[in-house]
Subunit: 402 residues, 2 copies
């Protein structure tokens, strides 16, 4: 598996285009909509927010994914089309029809995503202009513009692509994503669009995407809030040639591994660009009774405000980590717990070790910090990626009206 350039346009048969339609700012100086198109019919799979409050486009896209065929994804930033009632859903249908007409694809194969302010109806005149401009801008080199157009509070665009050698020749997988963080007025959301020129049946693609999402995008946190718009979509158009990849084959496994690696790389990029983040923290839990227990412990440490402020303060605070593990809901014997911080065991079998405080403090100063929590219950393991909680996080999320 090699990295390649091109993002969502790296796989064969995909084009993308972006435009500034005045949705983010009235002057129309910032890219705020993007279209990703497969030139050939493609299977589609999607994973969506579990929030009870779902934005209108999420409801629409869930329906498209049930159909299993998807040719086009239209995305706007600047307005989330959430909490907009029946009008919001009507607007999504209108956008899908506009895209279908502009790109000459069936309306039932058009996916629509929105991110931005919530509770405000979409400016449909500008959306229409945006669809037309994106269609006109479609190009095999359009991936980078699309990655920029979907940003809200992100400070850097995120795009990745890999090439995977399979028995019938290489296939490619590409992604663009935008980060999670604050909601209104700049409602952010996790959006990720993945393209591949491999061929997969929709049901196989859906099962695989769900597994990858569970292990990557569902293992990150910046502020623990699940937005109304979170969406991961994957289009597979088979343009690399060869027969569909089927589960149980070596080719399928190789593809699955590459897709998960790409999702992990993308998810980590979202955490690295988390609001106010100064550090990237990986929490690994080993030795839990089950993988689920390991997940609970890893999540609890990753989400703890006290642990996250300690990471910001570069404080090797094993007490907060042990405490967060203890209230995670996982069942374990505290006297069998150890904590390893960047390779240094600071807590062993339920007690602090006689580690050198200066040594531990020096390791905490690194920009990427790996924390291992070792239990003595079984073989359960899990990882979670998180950011620290900084003054800037509070400023970004509290002070924007001032």
């Amino acid at each position: 598996m090699n990295s390649v350039s091109g993002g969502v346009c790296a796989p064969r048969g995909f084009r993308a285009g972006a435009a500034a339609a005045g949705i983010k700012n009235p002057q129309g100086t910032r890219l705020d909509c993007a279209l990703i198109l497969s030139d050939a019919p493609a299977a589609v799979a999607g994973c969506f927010t579990t929030n009870r409050v779902k934005a209108a486009p999420v409801l629409w896209d869930q329906g498209v994914c049930v159909g299993g065929a998807g040719r086009a994804v239209f995305v706007n930033s600047g307005n989330a089309n959430a909490c907009t009632g029946d009008r919001g859903l009507d607007d999504v249908k209108s956008i899908a029809a506009l895209v279908a007409s502009a790109a000459d694809v069936p309306v039932t194969e058009v996916l629509v995503c929105s991110t931005g302010v919530i509770g405000v109806p979409l400016p449909m005149d500008r959306m229409e202009r945006g669809v037309r401009a994106c269609a006109a801008a479609l190009s095999p080199e359009g991936g980078a513009d699309a990655a920029r157009a979907i940003m809200t509070t992100d400070t850097v665009p995120k795009e990745f692509a890999v090439e995977v050698p399979l028995s019938g020749g290489a296939v490619r997988i590409g992604s663009i994503a935008k980060g999670s963080g604050m909601i209104a007025p700049n409602m952010a959301t996790m959006l990720c669009f993945i393209t591949t020129d491999a061929a997969l049946a929709p049901a196989d693609l859906q099962a695989l995407l769900r597994r990858c999402t569970e292990r990557t995008f569902n293992r990150i946190c910046v502020d623990n809030d699940t937005s109304t718009n979170d969406t991961v979509l994957c289009l597979a158009n088979g343009q690399a040639g060869g027969s569909p990849l089927t589960p149980g084959t070596a080719d399928f496994d190789a593809f699955a591994e590459a897709l998960e690696a790409l999702c992990a790389e993308t998810a980590k990029a979202l955490v690295r660009d988390g609001e106010g983040a100064t550090k990237f923290i990986e929490i690994t839990v080993e030795g839990a009774a089950t993988d689920e227990d390991a997940r609970l412990v890893a999540r609890s440490v990753a989400q703890s405000q006290l642990c996250k402020t300690a990471f910001f303060g570069e404080d090797p605070n094993w007490g907060r980590i042990a405490c967060a593990a203890g209230y995670s809901g996982a069942d374990f014997d505290p006297s069998g717990m150890s904590i390893v911080l960047e390779g240094l065991t600071i807590f062993q079998d339920g007690r602090p070790t006689d580690y050198e405080e200066a040594d531990a403090a020096a390791r905490m100063k690194r920009r990427e910090v790996r924390v291992r929590v070792l239990l003595s219950e079984g073989a359960g393991r899990a990882a979670w990626w998180t950011s620290d909680l900084s003054h800037d996080y509070v400023s970004i999320n509290a002070d924007y009206r001032s």
Copy 2:
């Protein structure tokens, strides 16, 4: 029910004493241990942290509460005696024996509580000095000193007392508490000690204290972390005279109501003094399918970092509130949700209203803010108390080593 002075010494037959034993600081200039004593035998009940990692004194006190009789509570601040292994438990037993000897009560009726730095063995020579000094200082006027001695990161001592008229004469209930917040090195913890001169059977007292704790101390959050030492204890010595209060009588109900009100007042004081808190926020949920669903929604909003930073920023951000309700795990129809902020309906039936932004912003500037989330599922209701998330919170919890 009237407020009275005296804290834990307001009820008849209770004395308290405090001392500076050099546990908080070597110079011994700050009160850091306290003893609360009932002159007569008393029933005892306790509610303890659900953290898997429990400090040694918690394990000891749970045993005392099973016995149901408790005469003395000895508390130190400055050292939590948590993650200290077998030695920690031996130290608790030694302290209980010292208190039993100094106060002339059975060792099995001595409760021990600790709060402060974790992972460091107790300085037993100083603890011994502290026990002796507290016993010597015992006085019916000692409640206020005890309230000060148990403080760690608290900025104000917390003590409350009420008098409740019953058919056989008035009884009194008193409390002192210390707040929750950061862990090591100044591990904080929620500790609350309640005394009453009413008479109750231990089993009735335990059931009542559990219900009150569930509705008050378990409905507050500052940073969502559950410490290794959280403890609520209640001693009932019957010195007001009269026969024991029994469930199903009007007197028992009046006592129960007063105890819950006292616990609520104490719990709210902890939130008001939350680390870095600039505001007190009450989240009320009505119209949920069940009380449990209402609890989930109230907790989700109260714990959301995004909502808490919005409260700090005095931003009437209904989007974050709706979003946190949506991912709470409670089952409800988002199109039946409304949000009322300090009496102003800013979100109704799933849509923002056309409220005046300036009006909403002005209401957010109040020091105490009431948020009501109205659902249309049933009669389930719940309340939760929380603080805002400020720059000072991050500073207090990240910067103390600098």
